[in-house]
């Protein structure tokens, strides 16, 4: 399976601040009553984007017309904590995001996103604030996430970003979806299985 080599991502950005933004917030459970991931994008952050009593749009950053079409999501620490639902990164991706810059991620969310070819890079809080400030000043600026140089460039500035090497390697070399490699390993899987009595058919 030939996968795209994701060396950099460039686009406009939007800041959704806060720590511990959980997967229930990213995609509320009631929208998981589906047998495909299609259409999840429109429910991204639904309960914080809509006023529960009036049904009207809140002042959530994603409702701000200036950030319409943003493809880079900025956030805080422990982003994506909570459930293992892939519906969360799927909703983010289907909404139109191509990458996330946050202070840190919950483990399962990070892995799920990488498998979808959506880089989740980290940056220190001050640097995320710098990007957010630049975007706030001019929402049209482009933010470039460079996975080779491990830096984010925007409005003539540049800040350091980081990413776990296994994920970075997988993205830049076009092997972020492991299925091909895992399938190649099936003969070896069968050998390993033979040594484990509980796997006998």
């Amino acid at each position: 399976m030939a996968l795209a080599k994701i060396i950099s991502v460039a686009g406009r950005a939007v800041n959704v601040p806060g720590n511990d933004i959980d997967t229930d917030r990213i995609i509320p459970a009631r929208f998981m009553k589906c047998v495909t991931f299609d259409g999840l994008g429109e429910f991204l952050f639904f309960d914080v984007r809509k006023d529960t009593t009036t049904g009207k749009d809140t002042n959530h950053p994603l409702n701000d017309p200036r950030f319409k079409g943003a493809t880079v999501l900025l956030s805080g620490a422990n982003f994506g904590c909570g459930s293992s639902r892939e519906h969360a990164p799927q909703a983010i991706q289907k909404y139109g995001f191509k990458a996330v810059i946050a202070e840190s991620y919950a483990e399962i969310f990070f892995g799920n996103s990488t498998t979808l070819g959506m880089p989740c890079v980290t940056a220190v809080r001050e640097d995320i604030a710098k990007i957010a400030a630049a975007v706030e000043k001019n929402s049209a600026i482009e933010v470039v996430i460079d996975l080779v140089k491990l830096e984010a460039r925007f409005a003539g500035q540049s800040v350091k970003i980081a990413q776990r090497e296994s994920a970075r390697d997988a993205l830049v070399n076009g092997r972020w979806d492991a299925i091909g490699e895992l399938l190649d390993g099936v003969p070896a899987v069968k050998e390993t299985a033979k040594k484990l009595p509980y796997l006998a058919a």
Binding site: G18, N19, D20, D22, D24, R25, P28, A29, R30, M32, K33, V35, T36, F37, D47, V48, T52, N78, C81, G82, S83, S84, R85, E86, H87, P89, S104, A106, E107, I108, G111, N112, T115, L116, R164, E165, S166, A167, D169, A170, N173, R175, D177, A178, I179, E181, L182, L183, G185, V186, A188, V189, T192, A193, K195, L196, P197, Y198, L199, A201
Partner: protein
């Protein structure tokens, strides 16, 4: 002599197939558990790629998340729920997967069914498209919650790509004071280490408190490892583990049993093995705990006051407190005890087991749920339900004013009709108090042990069960 190893390292080594190009390991997953919400898309991907299930005999399915607990006859009123039921049935039939459907009498929450059936065994690897898969670690298994693409990977190859974790030993020693439960231990741990303190770690729970715990208590703690950010949590297998497994449907029998026990024992962490971190907790310091905020780390003991932004330890902490209190509508710096509740929920994969209902029944017998409180008791599996009914526990609960429901996840995540309404506040034995978690976008969750839920139900307030039920 090989150098001493932890259980995690041994299980990992036994299941490592090969190194992948990006440095991760292709890890064999011996047991794959699936449920209706996170598997349909994976089967779709499988079909798109023209792949089959590699080891259908190691794949087990149940229905729990979406299944109604007050409607037993299909088609369900909710056509989306029915469609998901139909889908899992179809997928299991097509790929030859064992399905614990309602008609089998073995259906229930996936993390209750696995242990109950004896499918969850020491020294094994387990994966399930559900973060609380960590529950199975109670048996000395390494059990991962995974996303749907990984469900596809495990279906197709019985493996997944994974980087190795560090191991933190959390040692709890001593006897828990009366009225203090396993749930309080894990709430205490998460409060102490933080909701992301476990990122990159497997948690090994040990110490005399865990040695003395039943399997159900161990499961309650391992279940919530993920709430502390740890991907997996486990307890080394011992006689308690083997006694629990003996005679279960999928447990080995005869000579195979003895061989299995010997093998299981060999997986336990070696004395003197290296840990990346060690945390020690004194059981005497653990008290009945409740959450006051919007993540499971925002907890206090029942006699503490709700934190105030003024006492925050950092700017982050302060922002967190302000956001949580605004959502929870709790006054800063005031006792949580006495807070009015609207709903009491007993159930979930954390605390929906037989021992939980037995313990509640012991105290609630002869008492009444406070007027105006909606109280529901949802057994974690059909087998738990049946046993409770045999022991008359259902009668005790219904006499007290609880509704006795059919097995499922129910109001833990409210994908079925069991939901909070508006700003209702729920005393809940489940594991997550996220905003909107229990089905109302403004609904409020206070996590606690089942007996504390019972105390809240009868007083209509967040209460100290030790006082309400004269526990000493």
């Amino acid at each position: 002599m090989p150098s001493p190893q932890s259980l995690f390292e041994k299980v990992w080594a036994a299941h490592a197939v090969k190194k992948l190009a990006n440095g991760q390991t292709q890890l064999l997953i011996g047991t794959h558990l699936i449920h209706e919400v996170t598997s349909p898309q994976a089967f779709g991907m499988l079909r798109d790629l023209g792949l089959k299930v590699l080891m259908p005999h190691r794949t087990f399915a149940t229905v729990d998340h979406i299944i109604p607990t007050n409607e037993l006859v299909e088609p369900y009123k909710d056509s989306l729920a029915q469609a998901m039921m139909d889908e899992v049935r179809k997928n299991c039939a097509e790929f030859g997967i064992t399905f614990f459907d309602r008609a089998t009498g073995k259906q229930g929450i996936v993390h209750i069914v696995g242990p109950e059936q004896g499918i969850t065994q020491p020294g094994t690897t387990i994966a399930c498209g559900d973060s609380h898969t960590s529950t199975h670690g109670a048996f000395g298994a390494i059990a991962f919650g995974i996303g749907t693409s990984q469900v596809r990977d495990v279906l197709a190859t019985q493996t997944m790509a994974l980087g190795q974790l560090k191991v933190r030993r959390i040692e709890v020693n001593g006897k828990l004071p009366p009225g203090v439960y396993a749930k309080d231990v894990i709430l205490h741990i998460i409060r102490q280490l933080g909701v992301n303190g476990g990122t990159g770690f497997a948690y090994e729970y040990a110490g005399s408190t865990f040695d003395g715990f039943t399997m159900e208590e161990r499961m309650t703690v391992c279940n919530m490892s993920i709430e502390g950010g740890a991907r997996v949590g486990y307890v080394n297998p011992d006689e308690t583990t083997f006694t629990y497994l003996k005679g279960r449907p999928y447990s080995p029998t005869g000579a195979a049993w003895d061989a299995a026990v010997a093998r299981w024992k060999s997986f336990a962490s070696d004395p003197g093995c290296r840990y990346d971190d060690v945390v020690k907790i004194n059981a005497a310091d653990v008290a009945p705990s409740v959450t006051w905020g919007i993540n499971p780390g925002q907890g206090i003991t029942i006699n503490e006051n709700v934190p105030s932004p003024d006492t925050a330890t950092s700017a982050d902490d302060k922002a967190g407190i302000i956001e949580a209190l605004a959502y929870m509508k709790l006054p800063a710096g005031k006792p949580i005890k006495g807070t009015k509740i609207n709903v009491a929920f007993l159930g979930s994969c954390t605390n929906g087991r037989l021992s939980d209902f037995r313990e509640v029944a012991k105290y609630i017998k002869g008492r009444k749920v406070a007027p105006g409180v909606r109280a529901i008791a949802v057994p974690g599996s059909q087998i738990v339900a049946l046993q409770c009914e045999k022991e008359g526990i259902d009668k005790v609960l219904t006499a007290a004013g609880f509704e006795w429901r059919a097995a499922g996840c129910s109001m833990c995540l409210a994908m079925n009709p069991d939901k909070l309404i508006g700003e209702e506040l729920c005393a809940s034995s489940s594991n997550r108090n996220f905003k909107g978690r229990q089905g109302s976008t403004t609904g409020r969750t206070v996590l606690m042990s089942p007996v504390m839920v019972a105390a809240a139900a009868v007083t209509g307030t967040v209460a100290d069960a030790r006082e309400v039920f004269a526990v000493n």
